[in-house]
């Protein structure tokens, strides 16, 4: 009985460790996502005032569209592409925008917390901290926030097709 419980607990721990275990795929996934978010944020910061001053309020609307429309979609698409490539998946479960918006909000919330507490500007301090601290978490988050379906085995597909009526 005790052995059974120990065995179950061990399986849980092993499972958890397996999930959180840094591996190459998580690293690459997190690196690409976090780098893209940092670069987009740096670009937006750099061009922010120029955009806001452009034919007000069109520039302001354009800034909002980029920040909360185009950027999430881009990040969402990137995440799905990475997932499909790294994990041999196809398709997606969460919409591109929502997936990207979630990653963007996680990223910006962390930045708000960090900037509020430290009082430092995003560039270069918070950006550098983001890359070092959020690399693996964003690898996991990217995987958690969207998956897809395992690509069916081509052999199996062929066989199935062959046996289909």
């Amino acid at each position: 009985m005790e052995y059974a419980e120990d065995s179950r607990r061990k399986r849980w721990v092993n499972g958890l460790l397996k999930i959180l275990k840094p591996n190459k795929q998580i690293f690459i996934h997190g690196l690409i996502i976090i780098l893209s978010l940092v670069i987009i944020q740096l670009l937006l910061d750099y061009f922010q005032n120029s955009l806001l001053l452009y034919m007000p309020p069109i520039g302001f609307a354009f800034f909002l569209l980029i920040s909360y429309g185009i950027q999430p979609i881009a990040v969402g698409v990137l995440n799905v592409i990475i997932l499909n490539r790294l994990y041999n998946c196809e398709g997606w479960q969460t919409g591109f925008w929502l997936n990207g918006f979630f990653l963007l909000l996680t990223f910006s919330t962390f930045n708000v917390l960090l900037q509020t507490i430290t009082g430092l500007p995003f560039s270069p301090y918070i950006a550098a901290a983001d890359i070092f601290i959020l690399l693996y978490p964003f690898g996991h988050l990217g995987k958690f926030s969207n998956r897809g379906c395992k690509k069916p085995n081509p052999q199996q597909t062929t066989t199935t097709s062959a046996t289909s009526p």
Partner: protein
């Protein structure tokens, strides 16, 4: 025998004349003893200073708390048996009476005659002397002559400054037939005569005051009677009244006028009763239309008169005797409360009595030995206990165990304590929170002791505490339930998947593939959306809770300011209000652009002169509000006249929220920017040393281009916070404003419109803590005074709590 004499006297004479004569006879006998005695509630003499060889005519308290005394020096000539070689004299002393400097001015400056009769301090901290020979002498703050201007009159008795920046003089002359003529003359600030007025037919004037309606009142005598005249603000005689007592040979005159709190006037002077060869100090109380309410010949000091009168805070009077160093204090009906002999000196002539800023008095006079006496008398001893008013808790039921104890004490307290439920007194230093009170009924009394040792107690406050519905637990319960439900859902999902896995994925996908994927996607999407929502809330509210949780910044330069709408107050009130603001520890006063560019000597300009005189003397910073509708010509005038006193200049007010009622027609960015540029270039031309800023409201979020563009020319930016809910959101907005402008942020307008003193006070203190914690450069409260006082903090709980906060935090 005395009684029978009085009785027979009363048969021979009628009315007050008889009574006065009898009183005179009776009190001559006890005069010397009476003068040297002072009642226990009389004030004391703080110091006496004598200046050899000088005669004192006038004294004022200066903005630095010292005194300026004007008079003359002269040499006695035995050849002619009189004084020669007159010089006007101005003596500046510290608040302790120590001489800082003394200046003499020869006849070539003051025009001969008998020196200076009056002195006033000017807005540039210099002085203006009124000479008896009709010359205005303007000096700088050190007494060096800047200019002098003969007015072409002689016999000047008194001169005063007026709220419009000009001066009023009164004096006497003779007409062709030898009759007395009283005259009244008005000049502007540069001494140019604006108008003059004569009263012919036997009028003699001794004194003049400015009245609340910006007119003036003058008094003296007409032939043998007391005389008082009221002039309106358009220089027209409103009414003139004589007051006749005694017989035709008895002479009376008014030496001094005091405005009274009931809108009337108190007249002090003397009656010369030739028949009894006696002089009687005399006081008359009249209403605003000159109707006599009572008159009192004062029998306590025979062979004397009154030379000055001032009204006290309790609407009584303090009068100085003209021929001895004595003060008489009366109640509001003129009955004596105490007398004080402030110097033992023979043949003393008292000239002037003033109230000092500490509530005491200062007098100036001259003795027979040619010595000027300057005397400082303390405030009256305080026998009144302090009045303690508890604002919170109130007589009601509370649903919290932590109750804010807020109260006010009407005077400085040396000790404060409270007793809860009849327990021992607990000493406190200010408002506190009574934490952890048990459910049930409670009673509370707050005690205070003033600096004179008088103890006062508040009324007992009865309040109750009942248990509150635990909202926090409800939220926590809901959150836990939601987590459990999500966990259970996920568990069953996994169980189902395990089952399907055991049965084989092929069968599972065959049977349920579409459904399973849909469910899976829905759950995942819901989780992600919930997390997104949570993170939005974190982003919005985290800065507020983080900075509010405790003090994060030790920014010692955090400036607390207040917007003072001084144009809503009277001229005479401004100095006191600025001083009161200063005493709270507030160092920035934000003001509207109050001026009259058409009439340089207009009333509004005089008001602003007084305001800047006050802030200069108290070394305070002034932030000028240039509203969106402000006239550029008016702005140029204002900056030219007062610009050098400004520390901050606000260019436009919330330009992003421009609307027709607020700014005329600045709807578009181009119009707003054009107005900004126009104001900015005007300010730049004035070459001020002031820092420039523009304040924005929350509307800047929709018009971010304005702060970005304007901030290029600004030293810092302002942000306005008005509502409690808005205070919670303000840190995020301030961070954004700072980010897009890259400028320091000051909270330029921070206030709340409410009639609830406690709510207003709590809100302001929370804001001050928050903004200081954020490291902002300051927070300026709106308002000190407002039209309905819903915004104003003056006289409300917030005034006290803000003062305490500043004392503890800056």
């Amino acid at each position: 025998m005395l009684i029978s004499a009085l009785k027979s006297s009363s048969h021979r004479r009628m009315g007050s004349r008889t009574i006065v004569a009898a009183v005179l006879v009776m009190l001559v006998l006890s005069a010397s003893i009476h003068l040297l005695q002072a009642a226990p509630d009389a004030p004391s003499v703080e110091w006496n200073k004598t200046f050899n060889g000088l005669h004192g005519n006038s004294v004022i308290q200066t903005a630095d708390g010292g005194y300026a005394t004007a008079g003359y020096s002269a040499t006695y000539s035995t050849d002619i048996g009189g004084y020669v070689d007159y010089k006007a004299v101005l003596v500046k002393t510290t608040s302790s009476g120590d001489v800082q400097w003394q200046k003499s001015y020869g006849p070539e400056v003051f025009g001969g005659g008998t020196g200076a009769v009056s002195v006033v301090q000017t807005t540039d901290m210099g002085y203006l002397l009124f000479s008896a020979a009709g010359v205005l002498v303007k000096t700088d703050a050190e007494g060096s002559v800047q200019w002098n201007k003969p007015l072409g009159v002689t016999g000047v008795r008194e001169g005063i400054s007026t709220s419009d920046g000009g001066y009023l003089l009164v004096g006497n002359s003779k007409d062709g037939s030898g009759d007395d003529v009283a005259w009244l003359l008005k000049t502007d600030a540069q001494g140019s005569i604006l108008w003059n007025k004569e009263f012919t037919g036997g009028f003699v004037v001794y004194t003049v005051i400015e009245t609340a309606d910006r007119g003036c009142a003058l008094a003296g005598n007409w032939k043998n009677d007391f005389w008082f005249a009221k002039i309106d603000s358009n220089n027209n005689l409103q009414w003139s009244q004589t007051y006749s007592y005694g017989g035709p040979s008895d002479v009376h005159h008014v030496s001094s006028i005091a405005k009274t709190k009931d809108g009337g006037y108190a007249l002090a002077g003397a009656g010369y009763w030739l028949s009894s060869n006696g002089i009687v100090p005399w006081m008359i109380k009249i209403d605003s239309q000159g109707h006599e309410k009572w008159n009192l010949p004062y029998g306590g000091t025979p062979q004397n008169g009154y030379s000055s009168v001032v009204q006290t805070d309790d609407e009584g009077y303090v009068l100085t005797l003209s021929s001895s160093a004595g003060l008489v204090r009366t109640d509001t009906s003129g009955s004596e409360r105490w007398t004080l002999t402030y110097a033992i000196v023979e043949h003393y002539i008292a000239s002037c009595l003033i109230r000092t800023a500490d509530g005491g008095y200062a007098t100036v006079g001259t003795d027979f030995g040619n010595n000027l006496w300057l005397t400082k008398i303390s405030p009256e001893p305080d026998f009144q206990p302090p009045v303690v008013s508890v604002l919170s808790p109130q007589h009601k039921t509370y649903e919290t165990s932590d109750i804010s104890l807020t109260f006010t004490v009407n005077e400085p307290a040396s000790w404060i304590g409270y007793s809860l439920d009849g327990g021992d007194n607990v000493t406190i230093t200010g408002n506190i929170t009574l934490a952890g009170l048990s459910n049930g009924d409670h009673n509370l009394t707050v005690y205070a002791s003033d600096t004179a040792g008088n103890y006062g107690a508040s009324a007992a406050i009865n309040f109750s505490i009942v248990g509150r519905f635990p909202v926090e637990w409800l939220f926590a319960g809901v959150a836990v339930a939601a987590a459990v439900i999500i966990g259970v859902l996920l568990y069953f999902k996994r169980q189902a998947l395990s089952t399907y896995k055991n049965q084989g994925f092929r069968n599972f996908f065959k049977k349920h593939r579409v459904t399973a994927i849909a469910e899976n996607r829905m759950v995942r999407t819901l989780i992600i959306m919930s997390l997104c929502l949570g993170m939005v809330f974190v982003q919005i509210f985290f800065p507020y809770f983080y900075f509010s949780s405790s003090s994060r910044s030790s920014n010692s330069t955090f400036e607390v300011g207040v917007t003072y709408v001084y144009e809503r107050d009277s001229v005479g009130q401004i100095y006191g209000e600025v001083s009161r603001i200063h005493d709270l520890g507030i160092r920035v006063i934000r003001v509207n652009m109050v001026c009259d560019s058409i009439d340089a000597s207009g009333y509004l300009n005089g008001m602003t002169d007084v305001f800047f005189s006050a802030v200069q003397s108290l070394n305070m910073h002034v932030a000028l509000i240039i509203k969106n509708t402000e006239d550029i010509n008016g702005l140029s005038f204002y900056l030219g006249r007062w610009g050098r006193y400004l520390t901050y200049v606000q260019i436009l007010n919330e330009p992003e929220s421009s609307s027709s009622w607020d700014v005329g027609a600045l709807f578009t960015d181009d119009e707003t920017t054009s107005k900004f540029e126009q104001v900015y270039s005007t300010v730049e031309q004035a070459q001020l040393s002031a820092q420039l800023y523009t304040n924005f409201g929350a509307g800047f979020l929709a018009r971010t281009n304005l702060p970005i563009k304007f901030s290029e020319k600004l030293d810092f930016v302002g942000f306005d916070v008005f509502m409690d809910s808005f205070l919670t959101l303000s840190p995020s907005m301030i961070q954004l404003l700072h980010k897009i402008t890259n400028k320091d942020v000051v909270i330029a307008e921070f206030g709340m419109s409410t009639s609830d003193d406690t709510v207003q006070s709590d809100y302001i203190i929370r804001g001050l803590n928050l903004f200081k914690s954020m490291g902002l450069r300051g927070c300026w409260i709106v308002y000190w005074n407002s039209a309905d006082n819903s915004y104003g903090i003056r006289g409300r709980l917030a005034e006290k709590t803000v003062g305490e906060w500043i004392a503890q935090n800056t």
